[in-house]
Subunit: 385 residues, 2 copies
Amino acid sequence: MNALPATIVAALASVLGDGPVPLHEPRLDGNESRYLSDCLASTYVSSVGAYADRFEADLTALTGAKHAVATVNGTSALHIALLLAGVQPGDEVLIPALSFVATANAVRYCGATPHFLDSQKSTLGLDPAAMRSWLSEISTMKSGECVNQTTGRRITAVVPMHAFGHPCDVVGVMEVAADYGLPVVEDAAESLGSLMNGQHTGTFGLLGTLSFNGNKIVTTGGGGAILTNDAHLAQRAKHLTTTAKVPHKWEYTHDEVGYNYRMPNINAALGCAQLEQLDSFIASKRRLYDIYLEALGQVDGVTLFQEPRGSRGNYWLQTLILDTDQADQRDEVLKTLNDNGFMARPAWTLLPSLKPFLDCPSAPLAEAKLLEQTIINVPSSAGLA
Amino acid sequence: MNALPATIVAALASVLGDGPVPLHEPRLDGNESRYLSDCLASTYVSSVGAYADRFEADLTALTGAKHAVATVNGTSALHIALLLAGVQPGDEVLIPALSFVATANAVRYCGATPHFLDSQKSTLGLDPAAMRSWLSEISTMKSGECVNQTTGRRITAVVPMHAFGHPCDVVGVMEVAADYGLPVVEDAAESLGSLMNGQHTGTFGLLGTLSFNGNKIVTTGGGGAILTNDAHLAQRAKHLTTTAKVPHKWEYTHDEVGYNYRMPNINAALGCAQLEQLDSFIASKRRLYDIYLEALGQVDGVTLFQEPRGSRGNYWLQTLILDTDQADQRDEVLKTLNDNGFMARPAWTLLPSLKPFLDCPSAPLAEAKLLEQTIINVPSSAGLA
């Protein structure tokens, strides 16, 4: 019998004590209660209010993006960002095969087709070299537009995603994208507070998106945001997320098909309190990484994933990578961990394997498949260390 | 000079005193603060939690619907309800020309085309007789499906909307719909607590939808719900609003294109406290109607809209209707009211007049146009009486 599952459980128990320990739970012991009460007292709990404005200002201060537009969740942020990047029905959008389903769904909401790319072992995100190689093989430039020669469809955007909070090689992706005339929309849903070369993830591309779902490093209950340095795109994002209503003292006129995607003020109040604690959350998660490394460093067959070179990660979810020859142990490790009260999860099922995306184009996915079979996320809440 | 604007202002001032008085503001002085604190303490602020479950149970108890699925807003509820009613890309969906833009946008999100119908003066909602007459003129039945002979597109649903909280003749609409094989999706965004023949609006059709936006009679910050008596549709609604994730202890598998439309628990906590006060809100609004009627009853040129026969309305927004020969006074009345601090609004610009819907099919809209030119909503918050 292979002892790996038991060894990993023992290593985690040495850090976490007895279970149960959730994968990730929010910490809400800052100013959350105070700001919620204040928000109630103001009666502005919905789509307009001081906390929504402050939350956006706080996000620009934190990320360095010139503009932030708060939305009802990360999926809606990505939907609007893709529309603003120019994605149209019938187009294709390049996304990592190894991502949460929202990345692909947002492409579908635009009437476009996700086109899957491989990941990079060193970052868990899009591999620029594989992207370049694939595009050189399957695409052609027509009137300045990148066209998939096989399907005949335009490829109109690429969406690098920073998996589990670890910055991908977004600079490399930007270079390839530029060569093919593709706007970059960064899916930074998981990487609030994560930097690459000192710059915040989500601020490299034309647009970036954040998520504040309950399982994220900072939560607003449900929420997201669009980041951009482009004032016109920011204004368009605000317009599209607020039903495209044309400002008027009383008239109800809307000049395009818009969306009800504005983050309510009550959720933003929660977010303002959470952002105040982000630095301490990240510090705690980075300490947890060190402690896990100490406990797991000598365990054969598994590696604790370290932030990629040049980056400073938020370590949103601590990530174990099984050695390739231990990939067949993944489910047993997951089962043993969960049975022992240490909530653990694998990476997502690769998106092109999901029923709604079976017919979508895909590059070879050697690394993504290997990562799918060897990634295990373990308890990662701020406050565990 | 026509004295109507000044007369109306004087009548409102006799009820409301000096301004400013908003059109509608929420009352949040029940258990809102207590439930929000409790929700924070539970750490369940996001897509799962006891308040979300309770809010849905409270909605079924209140409305009599067998199932309620809480969503992130009313627009998302309507989007999912239309999908579940079977609306497909390329279809047409019958909706009132006189409605908020969300009704038409939700149709567009399905890839379908809104097809506009006229309203009824006595209810402000869809006119069943006009609907029957129009369908007999433009549609034909093919293999049990209703087809628009002009466009060749299938007509696959009808969406009656209960304007300003007043129940439309949903029974009449249901009869016509049945004759044409059309499922009915009720847009009850504005009519929480409103009954027709003793039955709650939103529970007549195959599916109904509610809204809890900040301007509604009850608010969750942002929120909505899908009502249905069909257990399978309710299960499908829950699935589609929660990213279509297939239940599994750790695997991330999604079996169709889903949506991130679940109402966060923190918003549901607010909703539970608000629902406890709905009866008192409605009682206050009905008292306000009586008081406005007393003040405005003798004013020539304007009528206070009364709940349609057979209904009990929530009087969400009090509605003045100018006499037809005073329609040209509408904007002056609006301006005078707003200038004097009594926030007032007209009905929505008719949807087929909005840029994104200019090319959509439409029945003759004689009554809707008249209502658009003569409706003025005046301050209506619970607590004003």
